[in-house]
């Protein structure tokens, strides 16, 4: 049975399945780099997934569906930003309430669109590139949102670490008071990147309902992904590329779970659906444990483990969650 495993298909589905998680994790990374925690991810993804499907269904335009989802994501993020940056409220409390509210809102408003056949993103194989053996089938035989997720990894890294806009973004998350002295308006920057991150999270929701798990229903199938994306930001040490790597690992676990069902038919299917979540948490805990001093001294002589740990270690932006207050 294991011989059925086709590596090309396996990797291609990992890449495709990870696309929305990559988008959400990078979006949240950008937001948190500016020092704001948008905890509402899970609800936002559901609400924007519903919006995307509803808009695309009514207008028969995928682009409008994606756009509307992005705007919904930005709006929810905007609420977090408004309450935390300008009104000094707790980001965690506001984000958490929004999570619950957006979820219920999505189910309520989405009811009429349940279990309908609607538009969905069609595959768009890249000419010539898809002919390359293995690489072509794994990376170049997808639909547009998947390409977007791949390109975004590179672009976000480039933007955050190689441009002066990115430098300003990081500075605000580290020490807004110091940025202010250097002529940067921390609040403006935080607002802008919270909206930007929220937009990406919204797009991520749209990718679910218009591409990965087309259609709307209760459950949609993207429930819980928001929390995973939030965890991935930490897992990735607030680095977009590492967060994306985590997203691919999560997607890998999910795909393996699907294979697992056929390999071990005696095990209930639910086990494989749920397994990626605890496994992900376990991995996160393991990565965190590896930062402990005792473990670090144990790895002293094991160079490759040390390199591995260093690759995945990262520090949170110093003023994460603490909105900038002027005197």
């Amino acid at each position: 049975m294991i011989s059925d495993l086709n590596l090309t298909i396996l990797f291609a589905s990992v890449i495709a399945g990870a696309a929305p998680v990559v988008l959400a994790a990078i979006g949240e990374t950008i937001t948190e780099k500016a020092g704001i925690i948008n905890l509402s991810l899970d609800g936002t993804i559901l609400l924007s997934a519903m919006t995307a499907f509803a808009v695309a269904f009514e207008t028969d335009s995928l682009m409008l569906g994606f756009g509307a989802a992005g705007i919904v994501g930005a709006c929810v993020a905007g609420i977090v930003a408004l309450f935390s940056i300008y009104l000094g409220q707790s980001q965690v409390a506001v984000g958490f309430v929004l999570t619950l509210m957006c979820r219920d809102l999505a189910y309520f408003l989405g009811n009429p669109y349940s279990r309908l056949q609607g538009p969905q993103a069609s595959p768009l194989p890249l000419p010539f590139l898809k002919e390359i053996p293995f690489f072509g089938s794994v990376f170049c035989n997808h639909n547009l949102p998947v390409y977007l997720s791949l390109v975004l990894i590179f672009i976000s890294w480039m933007y955050i670490y190689r441009t002066s806009y990115g430098l300003k973004l990081r500075s605000v998350g580290e020490n807004p008071a110091a940025s202010y002295v250097r002529g940067i308006n921390p609040r403006k920057i935080q607002l802008a990147y919270t909206l930007c991150g929220g937009f990406l999270v919204g797009i991520s929701g749209a990718v679910f309902s218009l591409a990965i798990k087309p259609g709307w229903g209760r459950p949609q199938g993207c429930e819980g992904v928001g929390w995973i994306a939030l965890a991935l930001v930490i897992f990735g040490g607030w680095h977009p590329v590492r967060a994306a790597a985590g997203a691919y690992f999560f997607s890998f676990l999910q795909v393996i779970g699907i294979y697992g069902q056929s390999w071990l038919p005696s095990v209930p299917a639910q086990v494989f659906q749920v397994a990626p979540f605890p496994l992900m948490i376990f991995t996160l805990a393991l990565m965190h444990l590896a930062q402990k001093e005792t473990v670090l001294s144990w790895t002293e002589e094991k160079a490759w483990i040390r390199t591995l740990i260093r690759m995945f270690s990262g520090t949170a932006p110093q003023s994460l969650g603490k909105p900038y207050q002027t005197d």
Binding site: S164, L167, E174, A178, Y180, V181, R182, G183, E293, P317
Partner: protein
């Protein structure tokens, strides 16, 4: 550039932080602003750099009035400030810190900035590696980076707020050289300090502040007595160090090693006796903090023997240490010492040893009242710990100390305190020492250590590199040891 401050007032509610201050700084001048903590120096400088706005009064640059909305505007006009707590980005690299605010647009000419940083730093004799995160620099190096950055911005006036706190003697010399060079180039330097010595060695002119107002000004050469009078009204009395009568051994350490801090603690061997007052000198993070934590049982050493009052004790067992009579006062009052959201009464209730299921509130309240009176804390029993001023927080912490400790360990006991409070703290501690208590304290102020301690240990890079009686040494020798030169 000539700067004039005219009749600056700044009120915070009923508090008058600045009350009609006027002064002029000429181009090429090093101008000292002297005053003790809370005299209004920092407020005045924040107004000058646009960080806060004056309630009343005006700033004139080259005789034309200006109004700053934010610090960026003032630096555009050529006023740059080096803040007391470095306003930088510890987790980002030196180069990133240097470039921030200087660049705009999508691309960054990294190499160009790297060259510029190197060139300027070398011209002042600073050595900064551009590619390590700023948190790995010492405070002195962070200052150097900031000075270089401000110069690239094209500033004409450099304001430094207490720049010599927490930096080594060598770095101080380097800093002063750099400032003199700037003044010689026609730039103005404003040095804000409460250290008379710094101001006297460096400045051409001094303005003294007290309670938010100017009490006097003087040109170099300075009359120390006169300056002190301007600062304090009358010169403050110093606590007298009495000749110590040493008793039995209180704490002994043999080859103790521990991790933590920047340098950890390495190969620590020593004996402390009853009635001894020991000052721990050294740059911040050179091992004093770890030492105090190991000696108080808060932290477990990785190796070595600790003997407390004649009997071996297992490291890291705080309650056993406490039982044997040690008490530890950490430096970060609100983080490690006090619980911000609890009132003073609640703190005393927590301290209560025979804890019952129900809190004896009346008793705790009574105790709080008594202690507040005894320790002259400005507050009520129901005042929250975080609402107290720094000096009063320190008094509150001192009031928790057991009446008859054997070994008292204090980390920077007077940091951030005004002179009166600091003086009070030392008097209190000297009383303890008279009762044969062994007192060990860490401090970043050499003067303070020389003034109160009988014996001084200098830490460098996790090791004790000097152990001397305080009347057999002087600031110069200690300063060299702090910088790692023990000969």
């Amino acid at each position: 550039m000539r700067i004039e401050l005219q009749d600056i007032h700044k009120y915070y509610g009923p508090v008058r932080a600045n009350n009609g201050i006027s002064l002029t700084v000429a181009p090429g001048e090093i101008h000292g602003i002297l005053g003790e903590n809370g005299a209004g120096k920092s407020t005045l400088m924040k107004i000058l750099t646009g960080f806060i706005h004056a309630t009343q009064g005006s700033i004139l640059i080259n005789a034309s009035p200006v109004k700053f909305q934010n610090p960026a505007q003032s630096s555009q006009l050529g006023i740059g400030m080096l803040y007391q707590d470095p306003l930088d980005f510890p987790l980002m690299t030196v180069l990133d810190n240097f470039m921030l605010g200087l660049t705009d647009g999508l691309s960054v000419e990294t190499d160009q900035f790297r060259d510029k940083l190197k060139e300027l730093a070398t011209s002042f004799g600073f050595q900064i590696n551009p590619d390590i995160p700023v948190q790995r620099l010492t405070i002195g190096e962070r200052q150097q980076l900031e000075i270089v950055r401000l110069l690239v911005l094209g500033i004409e006036v450099l304001v430094l707020d207490e720049p010599t706190t927490g930096i080594s003697e060598v770095q101080k010399r380097l800093l002063f050289q750099a400032l003199k060079k700037l003044a010689a180039d026609g730039k103005s330097v404003i040095l804000v300090s409460h250290k008379l010595e710094d101001v006297e060695t460096l400045c051409d002119r001094v303005t003294v502040l007290r309670y938010g107002a100017v009490t006097g000004a003087m040109e170099s050469p300075f009359d120390t007595e006169e300056l002190l009078k301007m600062m304090f009204g009358a010169p403050p009395a110093q606590p007298l160090r009495k000749a110590a009568q040493l008793g039995a051994s209180v704490l002994e350490m043999k080859q103790v090693y521990a991790s933590g801090g920047r340098a950890g603690l390495e190969d620590c061997n020593l004996t402390f006796r009853e009635g001894e007052m020991i000052g721990l000198a050294g740059l911040e993070g050179s091992g004093q903090g770890v030492f105090l934590r190991v000696a108080s049982g808060v932290q477990k050493p990785s190796l070595g023997e600790i003997t407390l009052r004649g009997s071996r004790i297992k490291g890291g067992d705080y309650s056993a240490f406490k039982y044997a009579g040690t008490a530890f006062l950490p430096a970060s009052r609100l983080e490690e010492g006090l619980i911000p959201g609890l009132t003073m009464t609640e703190h005393y209730a927590l301290q209560n040893k025979n804890s019952k299921f129900l809190i004896p509130w009346t008793q705790a309240y009574q105790q709080a009242k008594e202690r507040i009176k005894l320790f002259r804390i400005k507050g009520k029993p129901q005042t929250f710990a975080h609402a107290l001023s720094g000096g009063n927080q320190q008094r509150l912490l001192l009031s928790f100390l057991p009446d008859k400790p054997k070994l008292l360990l204090l980390e920077n006991p007077t940091r951030g305190l005004d002179l009166e409070s600091a003086h009070w703290v030392w008097q209190r501690l000297c009383n303890y020492a008279d009762q044969k208590v062994c007192i060990v304290f860490a401090s970043s102020e050499l003067d303070e250590i020389l003034m109160v301690a009988d014996r001084i240990l200098v830490f460098f890079d996790g090791r004790i590199i000097k152990d001397v009686k305080s009347d057999e040494t002087d600031a110069d020798e200690l300063g060299r040891a702090i910088a790692g030169k023990s000969d």
